[in-house]
Every structure is written in C-alpha cells, then in structure tokens.
Amino acid sequence: MKKAYFLTKMIISVTIILISSGCTANNATEYSGFFMDSYAQFKVWNGQAKELSQTAEDLDALFSMYNENSDIYKINTNANAVIVHDDTIAIINDTIKLNDEFGGGVDITVGGLTLLWNITSEKPEIPAKEEIDSALLQTGIDKIEIDSTKNTVISQGTRLDLGAVAKGYACDKIKKQLNETDARCAVVTFGSSSLLYGEKPDGQPFRVAIKDPEESGGIIGTFEADACFVSTSGGYERFFEIGGVKYQHILDINTGYPAQTDLISVTVICDGGLKSDFLSTLIFIGGSKGLDKHLNADDYSVIAVTQDKIIYISDDIRDSFELSAAEYTVAS
C-alpha cells in the first residue's frame, strides 16, 4: 500500500517536472560591436549576447546599400527582377504598410538622394539643385514592384535606402530570436533603435536616458518603461556644417534637402521595432506642428524636444519622466 502510494507520487511529480519551466540562474552576458553602421550593444540575462549580434550581422549583409553583396545593392543596380531573402521582402512590405497607415513620410526609395548628399564622406558638399531635382524624380515607392510568390523585387530606376527602418527591423527580429530562448531579459541597442525585452532581475522597470543633442555628453532626462521598443531620431551625431548651417542626415523626400524641422530629438516607444524606427523619423520630419495627434496616440508614446528646448511628452509616460537638464522645460 505504501509502495503504491510512493510510486504514484513519483509518477505525478515527474510529470509535473516535465511540464514545468523556468530557470533560476541570474547571469548576464554582454557583447558589443559595429553593426548596421553603428555601435551596437547587446546585453542578455540567461542567454548569449553574441548570438543576438549574429542576427544583426546577417541583416546588415542583406540591407546595407553599400555592400555589393546585399539584396538592396542588387535591387538598386539591377533593372531586372532580383530574387531576395524573406527578410528583405518583409521589411519593404512592412514599411509600405506603415506608410499607408500614417500617410507617407518615410520613403525608402530615397537611396539616390542619400548617395548624392553623402553626408559621411570625406568632403561633404551641398549638391547642386539640378542634381537634387533629378534625384527626386527617381524616388517614389510606386517604382518598386514586389512579387511575394517568387520573392523578387524590381526597382524601376529608383534606389532603396533602408537606413530609416533597418535597425528597427533588426530589433524586431532579435526579439523573435529571444522568444525562442530561455532569456528572461535583454537590452539591445543600435543607438537610434533599441529593444527592451522581458523583465529585469530586480523586477524594476527599465530606465532609459535620452541624450542631449546640443550639449555633448549631457542627458535631457530619463523615463521608465517595461518591455518595449524605443527609437530616437534627431540630428545628433550625423551631420555636417557648411557656412554655419547644420545639415543633418535625415532627408525630407519632398524637398530633397535635410528635413527642416523645429524638433531636435524625437523618441518613440511602442510594441514594434520597425514601427518605432519609422515613427521616430516620421514625427521628426513632421515638426512640432504635427505633434498633437502623435502625442495622443493609443498604441505608442512620444517624447519630442523642440529647438526652443521644450519637451512634449505623451501622457502615459509623463509621470515617470525626470528632467536632468535645467535648460529644458516640460510642456504641460
């Protein structure tokens, strides 16, 4: 009788163990390096940080418009249909969807213009107006033809530049990768796009600090967030100066020139990487006059800073925002 009791309990307990999950270790690994044209940092608890960077490396090889072996380069330099990877189809389609949802604003066919301005080159110059105009003629998402069944893309004279959305997409893919592992928590950042994953070991929300684009090394303020995607757009470090005027790297597809905006920094927090990257660029280009509807959006939060040093914050993260720089004020 006792033995039967014993056996039953053994069987039940083994069954329960097999169903149970969870790990108790509390170790974090870190890895950093140069990916997608920026300094990326990967940190994960209960996981291998280096594995995450592999995803970034693979995507970079597909998306970089400067890499001759990338899908994007092939699309840009071929008049015929080019067979590409699933990720390439996905990122183009997803960006088109977002453009439709938000009424345009982030055009990934801006490649010709990007090359023209060549902001990161040795001697950046302001291109001639004729050159800009002819480059503008080459833009337009309607010039891209995608065949999802054959995984092909044809670009009719236009060039793709995924700079505004690639890092956000990478964050999405890394999140999916993390979901397949035991990792409890991770912080991944490419500088302008980041992923906050899971929950920190101490149970506290993530604290995020926003750099001050004007005061080198300074911080404008910090806010708290649970797992989410965070992207920032702003002139920040990539710009060149001619005749006292700063030309930053985010181009306005309507004018062909660097976007003229009264915003110096836009941070978007939401549940999608590509979406946050897309939105931060969109809102940045839109200027402070377009802020209202974004501040009131339900599915994403915004922190936008104007050149007058006024900070506009969506209500849902307003409470956790702490100002760090005295010259800035939070709009009420």
Binding site: S20, G22, T24, A25, N26, T29, D202
Partner: protein, 158 residues
Amino acid sequence: MGMLLCLAVILSAAENAVVPVLPLGIKPGLSNIAIMAALIYFDGKSALTLAAMKSGFVFLTRSVMAGLMSLSGGIISAIVMLVLFKKTKSSLILTSVLGAVAHNLAQLLCSALITQSSYTLWYYPVLILTGTAAGALTGVVLSVVMPYLKNHFRKEWK
C-alpha cells in the same frame, strides 16, 4: 523519507511553474519546507541526502546548470539549517530564514563561478531580502502543517 523526496520534488516543480510570473530572484523556496521537515523528523544526514537527491532530479530533468545551481543552493542551505537547528537549537523561523538566504547566496556564487563574471554578484542585496521573505513564508507554512506531519511520521516510524 521517500514521501519527503516526492514532496520536495513536487514543491520544486510547482514552484518552477509559478516562477515565470514572478520577477526573477523571488523564489518561494518551497522545497526547503521538505528539507526542514527532514531535519526535524529525521536527522541531518537525511536532510542532506534529500537536498542532494532533489538536485539530482533537477539535473536529470532540466539541465546540468540547473542541477548545479540546485545542488549548491540546496546543500549549503541544508548545512546552514543543520547547524542552526541541531547544534545551536535555533527556532523554526530563524532556521528557515537563514536557510533560504544561504540558499540564494550559494546559488548566486555558483552562477558567478559558472559565468566567470563578478557582475552578477551585485544582486546579493535583492537575494538577501527575497530570501528573508521566502524563509519567513516557508517557516510559517511548515509550522502550520507540522501537526499533520507529526501524525504521519509517527505512523511511519513504527
């Protein structure tokens, strides 16, 4: 004793099913209840054996690392509780609290050694606090079920 092993194993498994819901580090340490019961009703050797066997289960059913963590935490905490309970005749609550804290700290040390990283050691304050709470909880639970356990074990000894 076999029943206690099952108990330890079931508690540890049930605990792991709940753990994903709680912030990492907050482990109720329910299996400690079984180890303490072993201490009270049997002897130190039984308690240590129990801890080792529980870790064996973890090793077999989850992973080497999980088994190692369970072993380090379990053995050290069993030893601590043994010394407290048998040698210095400490009270129930003190034993369970210090046992739980020792369990957590031992696991922390083990994970730092495995990952060759001292960074994780900085979580010691959180683990001390959660250990205290967990120890208090298990101590209380044990005191509540003690009358029932006493009856059961009196039968087993005969």
